[in-house]
């Protein structure tokens, strides 16, 4: 408010102060017009003009003197009356100014000026104060802002710290829980152990009391039952041997036996381990060979380029390995050989694995390709088929056409009876010839059949004879055996002669049966032949 009032006051003062300068400003023209002097424009609006108004009397005297001259007194008076605020007016009496009102006016004006200056001074001081206040406030503002920033940072820092502490609390909680559980577990263990100890102690205590009782009893009871053995007669040792005296040699023998037992056990164990070892090594060798075989590039199947060199590499390595195999089999227990074997196995296995993976990817690729290729192939095939079918169709059409033509020709051709008969005759003749040929063939085959049938029957008869002869021989042999066992030797002769008659009988008996069989066989044979002919 003060500021504002001051401002207004200042303004007013300024206005008042500038009234003069204004007067001077506005009237510079007039003045200049009146008195013909020019004012420098820099003096008009500047602050310094106020100060300059202080020094007004000195300099302005010259201006006043310029303002008012003997000539324009009345004008000047009129002007002043017009301009000044106070109601005092200058009156011109007879063209000469009375000094009293002028001095009064002047005094007034001076007073005003003094007041104005004071006000100005006050305002200036006020302004300074305000300025410094403002500065002070700005400074404090800055400071407070900084403080705020600082406190904000501190706050976030504290938040962070709190968060970490919370985390710590959580982990400590968990630790505490686990520790509690552990403690519980240990407590349960302790309690079970304690109960076990108690149980054992109680048992021992009971035993102790029993012992004490027994001791008491023994001390009291004079009748001491001696320990003894009553045996009707001593029995022999279980192995039947005589008992031996206990000597140092016996002790040594026992020691020896014990060590022998231990040694034999170790030996058997070592043997079994060696066997197991060699078996496992063999298995590994086989595996390695198999793997090398699988990896060797002997298959011609399609494989992309990058696979080949690795296969070749494997192949070459395989060759190396096979050379090593023999060496390995010799140094079976050598550790280096064992390491070598395991290393080579691992290598082969890795190769096999990569190979299989590659094959898998290839297979999937090829499968995709094939699927596409199939379609293309089928389309191509389809087209080929179509072409072929078209060709066939064309040929068939032509053939039909030709046939039709011939038929037409036949039907439409003028043929007299003679030629027709001749033609017919030709045809029948042709047919006759054909039939004759076929008949000839047929009779030939029949003759062949007859021959074969005869051969077959003869063979069958021979077989029957042979079989019977064999049977009879066997029977004879058995009979001889039997008769050798029995005391009746002269029975042999008639036994031997029988088979012959049997054969004769059997022969007669056999042939019809055979004939039937042969007939059957013949039939079958014929049938087969006919089938073949067809």
């Amino acid at each position: 408010m003060r500021h504002h009032v001051g401002h207004v006051w200042f303004r007013q003062a300024l206005i008042m102060g500038s009234a003069f300068s204004f007067v001077f400003c506005t009237d510079t023209k007039e003045l200049s017009s009146i008195s013909g002097i020019s004012m420098s424009p820099s003096r008009q609006n500047s602050h310094h003009s106020l100060h300059s108004t202080m020094a007004l009397p000195k300099t302005s005297y010259s201006v006043l003197s310029a303002f008012c001259t003997e000539e324009n007194i009345s004008q000047c008076i009129a002007y002043i009356n017009q301009v000044h605020y106070k109601g005092m007016s200058l009156e011109s009496k007879s063209g000469n100014l009375s000094t009293v009102p002028v001095l009064n006016l002047l005094y007034e004006v001076l007073q005003l000026q003094r007041r104005a200056q004071r006000a100005l001074h006050e305002l200036e001081t006020q302004q300074l104060m305000n300025g410094s206040d403002l500065e002070h406030l700005q400074h404090s503002n800055c400071r407070l802002k900084d403080q705020l920033e600082h406190t904000r940072r501190e706050n976030s820092g504290l938040h962070e710290g709190e968060r970490q502490l919370q985390l710590k609390i959580k982990t400590l909680h968990n630790c505490l829980k686990s520790e509690k559980e552990e403690v519980q577990k240990l407590q349960s263990i302790i309690s079970s152990r304690a109960s076990q100890y108690n149980h054992d102690t109680k048992r021992k205590e009971r035993e102790c009391t029993k012992l004490k009782e027994r001791l008491n009893q023994l001390l009291v009871d004079k009748r001491d039952k001696k320990l003894s053995i009553e045996i009707s007669n001593y029995v022999g040792r279980s192995d039947g041997k005589r008992g031996l005296w206990k000597t140092g040699k016996m002790e040594a023998r026992h020691e020896g036996e014990m060590y022998r037992a231990l040694l034999s056990d170790y030996e058997t164990r070592q043997r079994s381990l060696m066997m197991e070892n060699s078996e496992l090594k063999k298995v590994l060798q086989h595996m390695k060979k198999d793997m090398i075989a699988i990896l060797s590039p002997k298959k011609p199947c399609v494989q992309p380029e990058p696979a080949d060199d690795s296969l070749e590499q494997a192949g070459s390595e395989g060759e190396e390995e096979t050379g090593d195999c023999s060496r390995e089999s010799l140094e079976q227990s050598c550790e280096r050989a064992r390491e070598q074997l395991t290393k080579s196995i691992r290598l082969q296995w890795r190769k096999l694995k990569s190979h299989v993976e590659r094959l898998d990817s290839q297979a999937s690729l090829v499968a995709c390709q094939e699927r596409e290729g199939d379609e293309m192939m089928s389309r191509k095939e389809h087209e080929d088929e179509m072409q072929r079918m078209r060709l066939d169709l064309q040929q068939c059409k032509e053939f039909i056409h030709m046939q039709q033509q011939l038929l037409q020709q036949q039907l439409s051709s003028p043929c007299d009876e003679e030629t027709a008969a001749l033609l017919n005759d030709c045809y029948t003749l042709e047919e006759k010839e054909r039939l004759k040929e076929e008949w000839r063939l047929f009779s030939e085959q029949k003759r062949n059949f007859e021959r074969e049938r005869k051969n077959f029957t003869e063979a069958a008869i021979r077989l029957g004879h042979e079989r019977k002869a064999f049977e009879e021989d066997r029977a004879a042999w058995l009979k001889t055996q039997f008769s050798n066992m029995t005391p009746f030797v002269d029975r042999k002769r008639p036994a031997l002669s029988e088979p012959h008659s049997a054969l004769a009988v059997s022969e007669s008996r056999l042939t019809p049966h055979h004939c039937y069989a042969i007939h059957h066989v013949q039939k079958k044979g014929l049938k087969c032949k006919f089938h073949n002919m067809k």
């Binding site: 149980h199 039952k225 320990l227 053995i229 029995v235």
Partner: protein, 448 residues
């Protein structure tokens, strides 16, 4: 399958002679020896008191009967029935008695495990072994009967003594690296001794015959450890069953674990077959309820059962053990390899109704048998890969790779099979109930 008639026995004392010819049973204070094939009584002996333990000698010529209360051991001869032998331990008492492998010495463990007395039947010699350890399995003989391993405890430390059974000469005596030795067992090839700690510490040590430590294996610390140990017949594998419900297989070359078999509650392995025993109740018509029918035909009361294959994934019934008790019922308590090494049968105590069969060739689960009652006893056929088990009811169950079958024991009254064992030829089973025995003749092939 044929069943013989029922005979009496007491204390589950029924043993077949090692040569397979005789069957000895104890009935109170009598010892009855029968011919195995005809089941005719061959010998009858009378002991001085109720027999607590009975054992055949290795050559099938003698039988040992121990009466712990009286501290007496009586030995009977089969060849000479009038031969007698009585061993009196006197005031020192008797806790256990056993034969030596040669069948001519009797080893008696006195009360409070004060000492082991070795009585000879051939000579007048008596040997004493001091400070034997009282544990799950403190004495073991090699398969060939040459050596004996004995666990001892002196001044709060475990020792192992190896004796030559010939003349009881102390071959080796060495300290064992166990905290509290629970058991020891020779490998079937007689060269390695497996020694394991008690359940408070999982540790199994392997000693060579001459006392050198070959290897030590410990799967974990602090939790309860080993529950059962068994060798495979070829000595290739050592199966260790522990309280964490797992079986770990160690191999004989490196003595390191080659695999571990878990017993999960849900079976998702697709190669395994889960057989579930399902009882089928016979339908009874009202007109069948005649007295005659009831007494003669037992099938009315005894339920038939059969196996069904369960779809995978299958749930195995679990019984949670009481955590506060000592020796909790959890973990692998029984392991057995088949005679051909191919299979391993295991039983997990908190799944008492299930029996697990593992294939050793593939090292994976082959079959799970889920029974209607807790499995009491299971034994492999000594020749074939065939497993017989019983659950305390009237049935005997057989599993083979071809399948499994449940057979009711057709005995008048009910015959609750408590335990069973095979005859050494593998052609028959001896079933024991509380008071009786029954023989079961099994054919060579069994199918489902």
């Amino acid at each position: 399958m044929n069943f013989s008639e029922v005979f009496k026995q007491s204390n589950q004392l029924c043993k077949v002679s090692p040569d397979g010819k005789y069957l000895a049973t104890c009935v109170q204070y009598r010892l009855v020896v029968r011919d195995f094939n005809s089941l005719q009584i061959v010998h009858l002996y009378t002991c001085l008191d109720q027999v607590m333990h009975m054992e055949w000698s290795s050559d099938s010529l003698f039988i040992l009967c121990a009466m712990y209360k009286r501290g007496l051991v009586q030995v009977w001869s089969l060849e000479q029935p009038d031969w007698h032998c009585k061993i009196d331990e006197g005031s020192i008492g008797l806790v256990s008695s056993r034969w030596s492998p040669d069948g001519r010495h009797v080893l008696n463990t006195t009360e409070f495990n004060l000492r082991v007395t070795v009585w000879s039947l051939c000579t007048k010699a008596v040997s004493y072994i001091k400070y034997p350890k009282a544990c799950q399995k403190g004495v073991d003989f090699t398969a060939d009967g040459r050596y004996m391993a004995l666990a001892e405890r002196r001044e709060c430390k475990d020792y192992i003594s190896v004796f030559v059974c010939d003349d009881w000469h102390l071959l080796r005596h060495f300290e064992s690296e166990t905290q509290d030795l629970a058991g020891l067992e020779w490998s079937p090839n007689c060269c390695v001794l497996a020694v394991w700690d008690n359940c408070l510490e999982y540790k199994i040590l392997l000693y060579s015959l001459d006392g050198r430590l070959l290897s030590s294996y410990s799967a974990y610390e602090w939790s309860l450890g080993i529950k059962s140990v068994t060798w495979s017949p070829s000595s290739q594998f050592l199966a260790v069953g522990s309280y964490d419900e797992k079986v770990r297989i160690l191999n004989h070359i490196t003595w390191k674990k080659i695999t571990e078999f878990e017993h999960p509650t849900t079976i998702i392995n697709t190669k395994a077959v889960v057989f579930k025993e399902v009882e089928k109740r016979p339908v009874v018509g009202s007109e069948d309820l005649s007295i005659h029918q009831l007494t003669v035909d037992n099938s009315l009361f005894s339920t038939q059962s059969k196996y069904e294959i369960t779809q995978l994934p299958a749930q195995v019934p679990v019984i949670k053990p009481d955590p506060d008790r000592a020796n909790p019922k959890i973990g692998i308590s029984a392991l057995a390899f088949s005679a051909d090494n191919r299979f391993l049968a295991t039983k997990n105590d908190n799944m008492p109704q299930s029996l697990w069969v593992w294939d050793m060739l593939r090292l994976s689960l082959l079959a799970v048998l889920e029974q209607t009652a807790p499995v009491r006893c299971f034994v492999w056929d000594p020749h074939r890969p065939r497993l017989a088990l019983c659950t305390g009811n009237t049935k005997v169950y057989l599993w083979s790779p071809a399948g499994c079958v449940s057979v009711n024991v057709p005995v008048e009254g009910s015959f609750q099979v408590q335990s069973l064992f095979w005859h050494c030829s593998g052609s028959s089973l001896v079933l024991l109930s509380k008071e009786h025995i029954c023989l079961c003749y099994v054919e060579a092939e069994e199918e489902k």
